[in-house]
Symmetry: C2
Subunit: 508 residues, 2 copies
């Protein structure tokens, strides 16, 4: 049976919101009740009044110790993180002194060693590395593209190879272009129309989606499977419009995959500005050619590591409260938002527990995953070992959505009956987060790395910062430290520490 939300609940929620910020007096509430008559029918109002009185009668009897203690603890945590700049300085180092750090690269090894040293300095109970073999893809030095038109002349286009792609011939390749708006449009084309051409997928991310991750998720699959789909029809290369709602000059890289039995063709992304240019010129000169040159290659798998630090639980050490992000980052930028932020925030949660002298009941574990970007081998290995060791995660909280201002959390669990209960529980803590303008508590996909723990029956959570700016930087040369706001980064650490504390302290 489907139900509609009654206006009286909205009203209760409205008053609830006010109660969170201050204790209000009864006269004030009575006034509020009076005005519901402007908007709601009288019958609702009367019943609502009765309900509210009932609630307040009870409310006075409810013991407030927990809420009050938790409120104070969260204040301490937010004060700790806002009041110092260690995570900001950590991120400065990781971004500007190490920089892009794709799996297998010397920079990834440097990031592992930096993370180990940084965790060691916190005097945790244990810090260790978890070995894992990772793919090793390198971009090489040459990366260029040009529109070549008999009418419009030659125009350079900002381009980057997609991670995992093979290179073009050393002298590049040149072919006519067939533009499609959706990958599914390929199904309507026959081989003759595509054979020997470059397939250009010019699908903009939907600007009307409020959450840019929703818009991204509608397109990101195309980046993975576009090249083999085009190759099956005989295309010689696959070009995707960069995945961002911004119109700018930055090409956005990202993972792609080939399929067994399908010819491997080069796959690249071009800047949105250039996608519009190419599309426009193509409409006037369908015979134009696109010249592409890339020099990327897939090297043999390399040894790398997840980096892990722990504070051992005082009551249930075998149960884990985990915070984490991923150490690897695309080579074309500094990986400041993606995911240097998640790394330093996760480290910062450990630092906060130490600084506030909090001994967790469960084992508090910081996991810095390797290889989220192009294989998630670190996350797979971590989940495999957790299964093998029978480790239960009370919480596996991932931060991999940038260092923007906190909005809330997602929760995810394989048990679809349990999940709404956990979301309700999370919502019951919302008053504690109200002073910090953290309002979003919902179910949903919680992150690439923690997702491998889903089959273990663990409780997954994704830290959700604001999404509006993320795809301005994601997977580009523009993802640099100067795009980080210190306060937003620190508020993220505090928000994660708060959830880790609440789950550790009260369980679900």
């Amino acid at each position: 049976m489907r139900v509609y939300f009654p206006q009286s609940i909205i009203m209760i929620a409205a008053i609830h919101n006010m109660l969170l910020s201050n204790n209000l007096n009864i006269e004030f509430l009575t006034t509020q009740l009076a005005i519901t008559q402007n908007f709601f029918d009288m019958k609702t109002t009367v019943l609502f009044s009765l309900l509210l009185m009932g609630l307040f009668g009870l409310g006075a009897a409810y013991p407030q110790q927990n809420a009050s203690k938790d409120k104070q603890m969260l204040r301490k945590m937010y004060d700790f993180h806002l009041g110092n700049d260690q995570s900001y300085e950590n991120l400065r180092y990781l971004s500007t002194q190490i920089g892009g750090r794709l799996s297998g690269s010397p920079q990834a090894a440097a990031a592992v060693e930096w993370a180990r040293q940084t965790l060691e300095q916190l005097n945790l109970d244990t810090v260790y590395l978890q070995p894992v073999m990772v793919p090793y893809w390198v971009r090489g030095t040459a990366e260029e593209a040009r529109i070549v038109s008999g009418f419009y002349g030659t125009q350079a286009v900002n381009v980057c190879a997609l991670g995992g792609s093979i290179a073009t011939p050393a002298w590049g390749l040149s072919a006519q272009v067939i533009e499609i708006k959706h990958l599914a449009d390929l199904d309507k084309l026959d081989k003759k129309a595509v054979q020997g051409k470059i397939v250009f997928l010019n699908q903009p991310m939907d600007d009307l989606e409020h959450d840019t991750f929703d818009a991204y998720s509608h397109c990101s699959g195309n980046r993975y499977k576009g090249a083999p789909a085009a190759a099956r029809l005989g295309a010689v290369a696959f070009v995707i419009r960069s995945l961002t709602t911004a119109i700018d000059e930055f090409p956005h890289t990202g993972g792609m995959a080939y399929e067994e039995g399908t010819t491997r063709i080069p796959a690249v992304a071009i800047a949105t500005r250039d996608a519009e240019l190419l599309s426009g010129i193509l409409s006037q000169d369908p015979a134009l050619r696109l010249y592409l040159r890339t020099s990327c290659q897939n090297l043999p798998d390399a040894l790398s590591y997840n980096v892990i630090g722990e504070l051992r639980g005082s009551q249930k050490p075998e149960e884990i409260v985990m915070v984490g992000g991923h150490l690897d980052a695309w080579d074309n930028g500094q990986g400041a938002h993606d995911d240097g932020a998640g790394v330093v925030q996760s480290i910062d949660v450990m630092r906060c527990f130490k600084a506030l002298n909090l001994r967790p009941k469960h084992t508090l574990r910081c996991v810095l995953f390797m290889n989220e970007e192009n294989g998630a081998r670190g996350a797979r290995e971590y989940a495999r070992l957790a299964r093998e060791r029978n480790e239960k995660h009370q919480l596996a909280l991932e931060s991999d959505r940038g260092a923007f201002v906190p909005r809330g959390f997602s929760l995810d669990h394989t048990d679809s009956l349990l999940l709404p209960k956990r979301v309700a529980r999370l919502n019951s803590w919302s008053p504690l987060f109200e002073p910090y303008q953290v309002h979003l508590f919902k179910s949903g996909f919680s992150g690439v790395d923690v997702n491998f723990l889903k089959d273990n029956g663990d409780m997954l959570s994704g830290y959700i910062p604001d999404s509006q700016r993320y795809f301005d930087y994601h997977h580009t040369a523009n993802d640099t430290f100067d795009k980080i706001n210190r306060r937003e980064l620190s508020l993220g650490s505090a928000t994660m520490a708060a959830l880790a504390y609440l789950v550790d302290e009260h369980g679900w």
Copy 2:
């Protein structure tokens, strides 16, 4: 009588939050009730269950036409603003082609003409200018400061004059420095300690305040009244640490005022980075001197204008729903966030009503105020004329907190009994804003310009975007167009349009 919020209300709110995003089924709610037993005592749960059943029984009977129509209208408004970049391009022009535009300057005149033309292009019912005489202060070309120490040598310091300040002598001034942490510390000093010295107020903005405007409001008064307070003790100049939580190289200007009967001394701000440097060197060499040179001056008042555009109300044309921002901006930057954003958002609200073919019931008025930064003469004149014409504002909504992601609204009214009712009413609309992550509905100061309407008994509102980044840019050379995110700016326009629509459609 003070009351505490009962946990059962939190639980209702939790479920309410979920109901907003989806319609949920009864089985799901029953499961949620079951788990309250983990956290709340049994008695609460049982009563809560009864209450909830009562609510749902009623809820089904409540007519949903209004909520559903409003929901669709807001979706249209957000789609309109997210789906085009006119306000972003308007702001690009205002910021980069006109730039800083302090009252009385040729740039301010250009901004008036640009605003008039831009409103004219919207085919509103009327566009007009409201003349007002404004202060005219110019910075001049010379602006420098140096720490001169016998031990540490000479070090340049980034400095800017405060708006309204007189200049130093043309050759500058040099004096010893007395550092204070709070302006009130001056009361503890006697004249001898201060006489002939430069007073240096080194009070950091409080990093631990979540809302940076709260932190700012604790300090901004010092900038206004610091110079006369120091002059009364015989100081020769007043230096303030810039009002920002960031530690960086940008000096932040802002208004200051002299007092009748007190010697006028130069007043400047130095960058936070340099405030820390000066304080440090001062602790080692109390005899150091600070060299200051500024060349600013106060010119005779100049004629300028508020720029106003209107859509005449179809039912109550004499009652006004107003949106506005201020046209003037400090001369050292581009005034992109402060307050180019508010200007283009207010224009955009008008454009939205036109584009969606909405004829407001009340007169919808866009007011672009002149001289918010150093006198608020435009706002005073606007309020005076409104009083004279007996105009009643159903809503006077100001956007002057930057182009960051929307968080909500404040409301303000001179009638402290009425205000909470209006806040409750605003909260009753919160479900409509839920899809856009707008959660903050509270009472509070709503803006410098609309505040002059408070005595008229009008309903004031402040649009509240996120505050974390604002003081990184405020009143500096760093307040430039490249700091604007198109989506965040557009979401602000949509959020303002939504409130204007709701108040116009339903009244209070």
